[in-house]
């Protein structure tokens, strides 16, 4: 007994302290619901709500976090706001997400039919069915959307517009299957044989496939079908179609196949045939002609606002609406052996065009007319800037980000709340920084450096992450190409312009025998910069001596040893270390009269002869521009990663004279900044 009490006595203070700290943390981390503002803000055009509207509680139930469902949800919220139901003011909106699980959806529907809400909005067919089922007795007003064909969902909706239960109304959206096949004919007039993989267990897929059969019969195209019961079977089914010599693969609104769309695209690429779909926004397909689900969501939201205004549901009619959205991917043409080509008319009509220059998206037509490019966003965004270490580059990036936001017409305090956090080099703190920002319900995380990007993209699945100060995002796990990245992550990256430096080197030192460089093997950015530089110099045929340095203390010795190896110039690989300890490179080089060619603007004043800068300020600036686009309502998933391409050329004539090299006058003319005489 006394032993037990000893144990308790010794452990109690610690446990109590932990409990206390946890409580304090939990209390300060409690999600604060946005308070109703005492005065409706006047700037956003929503202030004209008629006084008859009363506060309402609305639940939004969706099946999963797919991009198209998110688009739809965004449409619903925007249409509600336009009709006077602004979230946080008149509207209390609770969102429910079944995370793809039917049992959860049923449980949630049960809860929602309990009568705590004035209206329930469901997105997707399973949610409609779950809600309709749970709601049979209580009859809570219910508006549905993102459903292919409500009349066959078995929820008591018939063919006529008023043929629906008295508490339930909504919008049906059949994917434009027939039109997408017609369009394939336009793109490739000789098309005679296409293949489709589909899951017979899916009602929506069946509808789409039937429509496709009809259209194919009309156009005299042979439609080959293969069934896949689950995602795992898709690969084999697609391969069997390819073996039967189809000229293209088509995917209808089949959730099973869409879940494995990458597999289908990969198989098609190997066979050099295209994939096209009638669901918008796939990566790597030739074109997607689908419904514009944002617009569908807005139609649903309009219907919901009518119900909230008090219109009788049994007088409202359910409708079919298919606002089209066309994605055209010119890059995919490269992977096709036969001569598919997009007619000009089609490209002009497309909502999103992907080509070698990136993704071009038409602005959302439904944005309220008042909002011009410089208007304030609908809400004040909470921006959290996260950094890993304190350094000059971090500060430059931060200034760049702020300048980029400002140039896009967004001002701190007015349009966004700006808070900076720095892990001060401690990796454990870095995780807490991300968690803390997410706990504060930040609307967007801005990250500086590769490690910060990795920590943020790992922890944040929904909150947008915009990164900068990353040389190569494709090695971080967050992206595989400029357009294929985690749906909530985007940003600006940039590496030194090694290729661009080569002609300058040649101009200044025409008969170079050997170049030298320093790089930092411990910095990801520096390693990838060095690889590119090595490849570029190899092309010129001049040998390169490379020395790796890890700490600033090693820099002077490394430079000495580099200078003693009969090099004609130092082409300094960019790294945090090179920037922060540049004087230790400049001094020994000056003594040996060897010119330095650098890639960071700050080096120019400190004695580099030529600097081709693509610096962290510029990178931050373009990341700031991207952040502004996200704030204005674009989805990060649709914003490609943007490489910084702009260069600034600095020449330092004094330094050149000291090293005994002459800078050609045309280079001086081309320079943005000239130092000395």
């Amino acid at each position: 007994m006394s032993k037990l009490s000893t144990i308790v006595r010794h452990l109690a203070p610690g446990l109590a302290a932990i409990f206390l700290a946890a409580c304090v943390l939990l209390l300060s981390d409690m999600p604060r619901k946005p308070r109703t503002e005492s005065q409706p803000s006047t700037g956003n055009g929503f202030g004209d709500a008629t006084p008859t509207k009363k506060p309402v509680r609305v639940a939004l139930l969706q099946m999963a976090s797919q991009p198209i469902l998110e688009d739809g949800a965004a449409g619903v919220i925007s249409a509600l706001a336009e009709h006077g139901y602004v979230e946080g003011q008149l509207l209390t909106l609770n969102r429910f997400n079944a995370a793809g699980d039917m049992a959860t959806a049923n449980a949630m529907a049960q809860e929602l039919s309990g009568g705590r809400y004035d209206l329930v909005v469901t997105l997707s067919t399973p949610c409609l069915q779950a809600m309709a089922n749970a709601n049979k007795k209580s009859g809570v007003p219910h508006v549905f959307g993102m459903v292919s064909d409500p009349s066959i969902a078995g929820v008591g909706i018939g063919a006529g517009p008023l043929d629906h239960p008295p508490h339930m109304v909504g919008i049906g959206t059949l994917p434009p299957a027939d039109r997408s096949i017609e369009m394939a004919r336009e793109v490739f007039p000789k098309l005679s044989r296409i293949g489709v993989v589909w899951n017979p267990a899916e009602v929506n897929s069946e509808i789409a496939t039937k429509a496709a059969r009809e259209m194919c019969r009309k156009l005299k195209i042979e439609l080959l079908e293969a069934n896949a019961e689950n995602t795992a079977a898709v690969r084999e089914a697609a391969a069997s179609l390819i073996d039967r010599q189809v000229e293209a693969l088509w995917v209808g609104g089949d959730v099973t196949v869409l879940g494995a769309i990458d597999v289908v695209i990969k198989a098609a690429r190997q066979a050099k045939i295209p994939v096209f779909t009638c669901i918008p926004g796939n990566k790597g397909t030739l074109f997607d002609l689908g419904a514009n689900y944002y617009e569908v969501g807005r139609t649903v939201g309009l219907l919901a606002s009518k119900v909230l205004d008090g219109e009788a549901i049994n007088k409202l009619s359910w409708e079919r609406a298919v606002p089209p959205k066309l994605f055209v991917n010119k890059l995919a043409l490269e992977h096709i052996s036969r001569d598919w080509s997009f007619p000009q008319k089609l490209v002009a009509a497309a909502d999103v065009v992907i080509d070698a220059q990136g993704v071009h998206e038409k602005p959302r037509a439904a944005v309220p007319a008042k909002s011009t490019a410089n208007a304030a966003p609908a809400k004040k965004w909470k921006l959290r800037l996260l950094a890993y270490v304190n350094s000059v580059e971090t500060e430059e990036s931060e200034q760049g980000l702020l300048a980029g936001l400002k140039d896009a017409g967004l001002l701190p305090d007015r349009d966004f709340e700006w808070k900076v956090a720095n892990a001060q080099g401690d990796i454990a703190t870095l995780q807490s920084l991300v968690d803390s920002a997410l706990g504060e319900q930040a609307d967007m995380l801005l990250t500086i450096s590769t490690q910060t990007l990795q920590a943020a993209s790992r922890r944040s699945k929904q909150t947008p992450v915009v990164f900068t100060m990353v040389a190569n995002p494709f090695t971080t796990g967050a992206a595989t190409s400029e357009t294929e990245h985690l749906p909530n992550v985007t940003g600006a990256y940039g590496a030194q312009d090694s290729e661009g430096m080569m002609p300058i080197l040649k101009q200044v030192i025409p008969n170079a025998k050997r170049y030298g460089t320093l790089f930092s093997p411990t910095e990801v950015n520096s390693v990838s910069n060095h690889q590119v530089l090595e490849a570029a110099i190899k092309k010129t045929g001049v040998p390169l001596v490379s020395i790796g340095v890890s700490t600033s203390a090693e820099v002077p010795d490394a430079t000495q040893s580099l200078c003693s190896q009969e090099i004609d110039a130092i082409c300094l690989t960019n790294s945090n270390l090179a920037i922060s300890s540049f004087p230790s490179v400049a001094l020994p080089a000056k003594r040996s009269k060897i010119p330095i060619f650098g890639f960071a603007g700050s080096m120019s004043k400190q004695g580099a002869v030529v600097v081709l800068a693509r610096d962290y300020f510029d990178m931050g600036h373009s990341a700031g521009g991207i952040a502004a686009r996200v704030i204005r309502g674009e989805l990060p998933a649709s914003i490609p990663l943007s490489p910084v391409k702009k260069n600034r050329l600095f020449v330092n004539l004094d330094a050149a004279r000291e090293c005994g090299v002459a800078i050609p006058p045309e280079l001086v003319k081309a320079a943005d900044v000239v130092i000395g005489k």
Binding site: H10, L430, L438, Q451, P521
Partner: protein, 320 residues
Amino acid sequence: MTLLIGSLTMGLILALLAFGVLISFRILAFRDLTADGSLTLGGSVAAALLVSGWNPWAATFVAVLSGALAGATTGVLAMKCKINGLLAGILVMTALYSVNLRVMGKSNVPLMESRTILSSAEQLADASTHWRIWIGLWPGQFGYEDVFLPLALDHDMSVIGLVLLMIAAVGVGMVAFFRTNLGLAMRATGDNPDMIRALGVDVDWMTTLGLAIANGLTAFAGALLVQYQGFADVQMGIGMVVLGFASVIIGETLVGSRIVGFLICGAVMGSVLFRLLVAIALRWGLNPNDLKLVTAVFVLAALVTPDLWKAARKQLSPAR
């Protein structure tokens, strides 16, 4: 809630580091700085193996072994080559920087796609969702979706559960070990090497073994840390010894006892409390530049509080 769970998990993972520091600094009285390197070593070995498709448990085990090897190297340098212990640790730590770069092949390895110990725990949580619905605990049931059992937290919960289990297992194992003859001899080595040498125990061997265990635990922390944060970075170990030592000190103050079992519990509590305090400081919107100063103040407070407490008690009850 995310922040709380996040910092608790981080605190528990770093408790392994605190265990390592406890063994070397407190039990062996050996000022071992290898930990900065062996933490990263554990992380980079685990990351390299995971990326090449190893089973996560096997990868973690090999990471622990690699850390033990690093610790043993420090031990041999210090005891057999008669190099000052502090210097031996620094040497190995410095060498490990290059070793880690070699192991990973580059300075940063992402694990986004790889299966890890912790992602298998998340899968377990997914599988249990059906079961939860069945017994009637579905999200939103209580009306406060954000506070009670939200689904998204399931993953975090399962991860922290698994980490807690592992820490408990390691802790119990350590208590058991320090009760065996070997464990007792190791403790005596730290307390009074001359005495224990006179009893015929090989002090060099004891120290080397102890350092191997300590650094193995540190590498374990590194391996878990990497799997939790989703990437390994060559600079992740910097300053970790200090962090571990701070946890041990805070823990000692909390338990107020030098008994091994209590010290081990203290290390866990110290590590968790330390992360919680950092999280609170962050959450309260502290000026980011002051963070390190504040953490230093925590440790200082932990060092001074017991003495102040004692002094205050003396003042209040002069009769005793």
